[in-house]
């Protein structure tokens, strides 16, 4: 091979291994899942490799599935909004801290990611259960008479998921805050802007890319989360991920589970790509 040709081939050789891994571990299973969702299934005959739209028809028409999908995305949207509302100010405060304090607080922020999902979620369950710390405290100070329902409620799932996923929002927003000109707030202030105006007119528009990428991560992870909804939501409060799990492992209806999983993926991709487009167009100037 001539040097020029081998140089041209180099990128392929270099990306080859990663490409193989991607192909083998992501694309092929994904393709097989899609294929599986078109297979037939019966209580006694099991999975039959025959093309049918049965699963898709069931997922699309049965209001049971609709309810679960609506719940999944309602939870994901709430978690994303909460993460923005709490995470953005938190990132701003972090960014203003002295380096020593910042690394300590950063550790506290990333803390949840270092604890296993199951342990962390069980912790929340202990805290939020009918006899948990929160309810006992509220009853002790006389705010409520009977325990509040957190367990097996959407509120509980939203709280637990926000806790786990907020670090992603904080890190993404923090990264975009670091790109701001350190004097930009002083500049706005010298022109007569107060704190709120500086935030609304100068800081927020510039960190939209960070908020967007944080939101995409949080939304995607919240919509496909399994452990937190499974432990806190329980069997009563199914979301798409726990539904697919149940179809696969309890009912053993793999094709239906595959249809649910593929639908979740497609819906996620559609929502993310759509909102990404919308926001990038709206804030075109800060996305260069």
């Amino acid at each position: 091979m001539s040097p020029a040709a081998s140089e041209r081939a180099a990128p392929y050789w270099l990306t080859g291994p990663a490409l193989l891994v991607f192909l083998g571990l992501v694309l092929i299973p994904l393709g097989m899942t899609v294929l599986l969702s078109f297979y037939d299934w019966g209580q006694y005959k099991g999975i039959v490799p025959e093309f049918t739209l049965k699963n898709w028809r069931e997922v699309a028409t049965d209001s049971y599935f609709l309810e679960i999908f609506l719940r999944t995305f309602r939870i994901a949207i709430l978690v994303t909004l909460l993460s923005i509302m709490i995470g953005v100010p938190e990132a701003y405060i972090l960014n203003r801290m002295s380096p020593g304090w910042r690394s300590m607080c950063l550790l506290a922020v990333i803390g949840p990611l270092l604890v296993s999902v199951v342990a962390r979620t069980l912790g929340w369950a202990l805290l939020l259960g009918p006899n948990g710390l929160v309810n006992q405290g509220l009853i002790a100070i006389g705010l409520i008479g009977t325990p509040l329902e957190f367990m097996f409620t959407e509120t509980g799932v939203v709280v637990a998921l926000t806790h786990v996923l907020i670090p992603f929002m904080i890190l993404a927003v923090w990264a975009s805050l670091q790109r701001l000109d350190p004097q930009i707030e002083n500049a706005a202030s010298s022109l007569g802007a107060g704190f709120v105006t500086i935030w609304r007119r100068v800081i927020l528009p510039q960190i939209v890319p960070g908020i967007l990428s944080g939101s995409i991560i949080v939304f995607a992870l919240a919509a496909s989360a399994f452990a937190s909804p499974a432990i806190i939501g329980g069997r009563r409060l199914k979301v798409a991920a726990t539904l697919a799990y149940d179809e696969f492992l309890n009912t053993l209806n793999w094709p239906l589970g595959a249809a649910v999983a593929v639908l979740l993926l497609v819906a996620l991709v559609a929502i993310i790509v759509g909102s990404n487009r919308l926001i990038e167009r709206r804030y075109a100037q800060v996305f260069e």
């Binding site: 000109d181 350190p182 004097q183 930009i184 002083n186 500049a187 706005a188 202030s189 010298s190 022109l191 007569g192 802007a193 107060g194 105006t197 007119r201 100068v202 528009p205 510039q206 804030y283 100037q285 800060v286 260069e288």
Partner: protein
């Protein structure tokens, strides 16, 4: 009455003193430069005037009123930052109009004033550009326009030209001076560039290690440096070891000149290279030429003498130039020598 007065202004970061004992009185319409090496406290001083850095010691008076309790947003000062700090998500016109919007200026007036100031700084036709799509010089103009459009009582410039290349910097210096003259806004410029300070200012405040070394008109500070720091920081200079007799005369290696004001004893005199002249033998002090460099319009001569190492320039006017190793007589006019007084240590 002075427009701006700094009284014993001081600032410390922990135990490190960043600025100490700045006394300055600025007249209305004056162009003042704070000049000094990096880290000498120029930015800190400017940011205290702007209100971004709290004042630890002393006072700042604007039109006689103490600024201590006035937040930056209410001071009404125009500030150009070294990084420009433009709003990247706003167009040029939006950037410039921001300060007017904050003052609730009606839209029509806002637009006309924005256009006016854009014409003033040479930005006609750039209204809808985004700062990112502009050159450094153009961004610099936007920053200036944004600061000027609010008709600030004081214009503060922190190294506004330091990010521009040499040629553009010179151009902008001329324009900046001309704009400042035409609108008459009292201006304080921070710079570490002595040429910039001398070219632009009515008066220069030379700073070193948080303190003022000397305040004066550019030619005064250049011709009559009061400390060796000033003498060395503003251009090249010769520091000559001399002895004062206490009765109005000073001798440099036996060369006597009348120079009142020096107490008896050893002293230093600062003389600029272009003010040292080659004299007839016996009419100066002797020096041996160690090096000569031709620079076109003049020769640059280095020499050794009993008063110290010398640097002198000699116009390339057709006369013979001493060669390396020659012994020459060097003299200077008493008016060209400045008595260097060392700053009393804090």
């Amino acid at each position: 009455m002075s427009h701006l007065v700094l009284e014993g202004l001081g600032k410390s970061y922990g135990s490190a003193v960043a600025v100490e004992g700045i006394d300055l009185s600025v007249a209305r319409g004056e162009f003042i430069s704070l000049l000094g090496p990096s880290g000498c406290g120029k930015t800190t001083t400017l940011q205290m005037i702007a209100g971004f850095v709290p004042v630890d010691r002393g006072r700042i008076l604007l039109d006689g009123a103490d600024l201590a309790a006035v937040p930056p947003a209410k001071r009404g000062l125009g500030i150009v930052f070294q990084s420009y700090a433009l709003f990247p998500h706003m167009t040029v016109a939006e950037n410039i109009a921001f300060g007017l919007e904050m003052r609730d200026v009606p839209k029509a007036e806002r637009e006309s004033r924005t256009l006016e100031v854009m014409a003033l700084v040479g930005l006609k036709g750039f209204a809808d550009r985004y700062p990112r799509r502009m050159s450094g010089g153009q961004q610099q103009r936007v920053a200036l326009a944004r600061a000027l459009v609010i008709k600030p009582s004081l214009l503060l410039l922190d190294e506004p030209l330091s990010n521009l290349d040499a040629k553009l910097r010179e151009e902008m210096q001329g324009e900046l001076r001309q704009i400042q003259r035409s609108i008459g806004t009292t201006t304080i410029l921070v710079t570490h560039d002595q040429h910039e300070a001398m070219a632009l200012s009515d008066r220069i405040v030379v700073m070193n290690q948080g303190r003022v070394e000397q305040i004066g008109a550019p030619d005064t500070v250049y011709d009559r440096p009061q400390t060796s720091f000033v003498a060395n920081f503003l251009g090249k200079t010769n520091l000559l070891a001399a002895v004062a007799d206490g009765s109005g005369h000073v001798a440099v290696d036996g060369f006597r000149i009348a120079l009142p004001g020096a107490a008896a004893g050893p002293i230093s005199l600062a003389v600029r290279p272009e003010r040292l002249v080659l004299a007839e033998a016996g009419q100066g002090f002797s020096a041996r030429i160690t090096n000569r460099v031709f620079q076109g319009a003049h020769w640059l001569l280095s020499a050794e003498s009993a008063a110290g190492a010398l640097l002198l320039t000699r116009a390339n006017d057709g006369r013979a130039v001493p060669a390396e190793g020659d012994t020459v007589a060097v003299s200077f006019a008493p008016a060209d020598a400045s008595l260097i007084s060392e700053r009393p240590s804090p």
